[in-house]
């Protein structure tokens, strides 16, 4: 392979991107488009988890809650205060970021399992708070009638986001932006710091890296991404219930991310695609979903901890890159 030829990864990304863009065209039913949109939303949640877990090495079980916070803040701002999507979107992101700091700063001081348990505890508290602020959040009944992104009036033409197709593109747009952010982080200095901290945090400190600060920033970014995902979800679905913030949401995101490939960008969409398609085929057996998810998690982390992305990369190497192999 000469330098000039195109790498398979690049090719695959282009094909994938094109496919994502033409989905609304090839969607034969509204349901297909809906499923694709749901997959994109899960991808955003998975990528937010990937930032703190895949890059940062910290398994957060609070991300269902953070997703829910973003969704609810938008829901409340939109239904109770009539604030427009384009103002509420960043506002919800900021609020989720603040919640993320409140959770992250104490939690990130803790090592290993303690961090996991504490984030789980925080998620429970978040749901409890959501359930309790009935006047604001509707309590156990949740919120209904949450408006979508609506119409942005413009100088020459208005951007109309009332159709499902336009909402799909809106979500896809943000997904692409978030993916870009992930790439920036991964290849940057802080990305290198994160990888180093994952391997040996003490060594990092001894060369002068303020590991706590690095981890907190990463958690902050991760929280904001989860929250923004929640906003997009709320604006798309239109209804919210406290279960949308439950730790089970975080568990599912973990499953999807593990299936796709923890630490990889493509893994964030691979997982949701595979798992959601599987659960669609097992439509008749809705109860099986939880079991399949748990099983998938156990099997993958034991046999393919790099997920499908890792599996494919491994197979590719074996099949196509046998240079220097004397057989």
């Amino acid at each position: 392979m000469t330098r000039a030829s195109v790498s398979p990864k690049f090719l695959f990304s282009i094909v994938g991107m094109v496919f994502l863009i033409i989905v609304p065209e090839i969607a034969t039913t509204g349901f297909f488009l809906h499923m694709a949109t749901v997959i994109l939303l899960w991808t955003i949640l998975c990528l937010s988890l990937n930032v703190i877990f895949g890059y940062g090495g910290q398994l957060s079980l609070a991300h269902g809650g953070l997703f829910g916070v973003g969704a609810y803040v938008y829901g409340v701002l939109a239904t109770k205060l009539g604030i427009h999507f384009w103002l509420a979107f960043p506002a919800a992101g900021i609020v989720t970021g603040i919640v993320g700091l409140l959770i992250g700063i104490p939690s990130l001081r803790l090592k290993g399992p303690y961090f996991v348990i504490v984030t789980l505890g925080f998620n429970i508290i978040l749901v409890a708070i959501i359930r309790n602020l009935t006047s604001l959040t509707g309590g156990v009944n949740g919120l209904v009638g949450i408006p979508g992104p609506g119409i942005i009036p413009g100088p020459f033409f208005a951007l109309d986001f009332n159709s499902k197709t336009s909402q799909y593109y809106l979500i896809l747009f943000f997904l692409l932006v978030f993916w870009l952010v992930m790439y920036f982080i991964r290849d940057s200095r802080i990305g290198k710091c994160l990888a180093a901290i994952k391997e040996d945090e003490d060594l990092c400190q001894s060369v002068g890296i303020n590991t706590m600060w690095v981890k907190v920033q990463t958690f902050l970014l991760s929280s904001i991404l989860a929250g923004l995902g929640g906003v997009l979800y709320a604006s798309y679905i239109g209804v919210l219930a406290p279960d949308d913030a439950s730790f089970h949401v975080g568990f599912d995101a973990l499953v999807y991310l593990t299936v796709g490939g923890i630490g990889s960008v493509v893994g964030t969409i691979l997982g949701p695609v595979v798992m959601i398609l599987i659960s669609e085929f097992l439509q008749a057996f809705v109860e099986i979903r939880l079991f399949i998810n748990g099983l998938a998690l156990v099997i993958l982390i034991i046999f393919m901890p790099q997920g499908l992305r890792g599996g494919v990369a491994y197979l590719w190497k074996r099949l196509f890159q046998t240079r220097g192999n004397a057989t």
């Binding site: 952010v181 920036f184 200095r189 990305g191 710091c193 990888a195 391997e199 001894s206 890296i209």
Partner: protein, 261 residues
């Protein structure tokens, strides 16, 4: 030409470290002068590594003061001290096995640059422009520790002595004023020891102050201008190697101690 005045870089004053009932460092006081190589020796369990842990903020002293570069630094955290110019290596060679040699050294260079999430997203062009400079610094360090041919290899693939050099390189990348080396030649053969000693001399001749924990008396005698002898956390002797050699207390402490010549 490096000026070797009698300026004091590090002062340790009445340092005490207790773990519950155990006193690991007992009223320790000594100074490290700018530009010198100070040896810290003593039998196992004398508190040498504990001392390094105190100097690098891994542990905080029960009592006493540490003054570095004319400022009180007692109780500051590890990364702050590293940023101020105290670098160290560990007794067990600690490097990033899963990273290339270049990336390893780069981790030493990064802390003094802007490395936030914000900069990664918003200031990409500026970060990119600085990359060249950072890369040059890394290459400089890699040349210094004589690992140019292995720059692209993974740290895990290096030999023992190469890994030790890499660990020193990572510490050097932080541009320290004081370098603490904790038994840098543990577990390698004579040739490799001599090679490493050469590197340490090179570091010293660049004006960096070095504090060296060592068991091998030959190394200590040849490299160090002064030695501090510890036993049970207490300083029992201090001075030029030749003086200490004749010191009774020091000899007593080593009675029954086996050490490589």
């Amino acid at each position: 030409m490096v000026l070797r005045g009698k300026d004091v870089l590090l002062t340790v004053r009445n340092l005490v470290k207790e773990f519950g009932g155990l006193r690991a460092i007992n009223n320790l006081s000594f100074e490290v002068n700018k530009g010198e190589i100070l040896g810290i020796i003593g039998p196992n369990g004398a508190g040498k590594s504990t001392l390094f842990n105190l100097l690098t903020g891994v542990l905080s002293p029960t009592r006493g003061e540490i003054i570095f570069d004319e400022k009180f630094v007692t109780g500051l955290s590890t990364h702050v001290l590293a940023q101020r110019g105290i670098a160290r290596t560990f007794q067990t060679t600690r490097i990033f096995m899963d990273q290339t040699v270049l990336n390893n050294v780069m981790i030493g260079v990064v802390p003094k640059t802007k490395h936030s999430v914000w900069n990664a997203i918003m200031n990409r062009r500026k970060m990119k422009r600085e990359e060249d400079g950072l890369l040059k610094r890394c290459e400089g360090v890699i040349r210094f520790i004589e690992l140019e041919e292995k720059a692209g290899r993974f740290a895990g693939e290096l030999g023992q002595e190469e890994q030790k050099r890499l660990a020193i390189g990572i510490a050097m990348a932080t541009e320290p004023k004081l370098l603490l080396l904790d038994e840098p030649t543990g577990g390698i053969n004579i040739e490799e020891i001599n090679h490493l000693m050469g590197i340490i001399r090179k570091i010293w001749s660049n004006g960096i102050t070095i504090c060296l924990i060592e068991h091998k008396m030959k190394m200590v005698m040849e490299l160090c201008e002064r030695i501090v002898v510890l036993n049970y956390g207490t300083k029992i002797a201090e001075g030029a190697p030749q003086e200490v050699r004749l010191n009774e207390a020091a000899i007593k402490a080593y009675l029954g101690e086996e050490y490589a010549a």
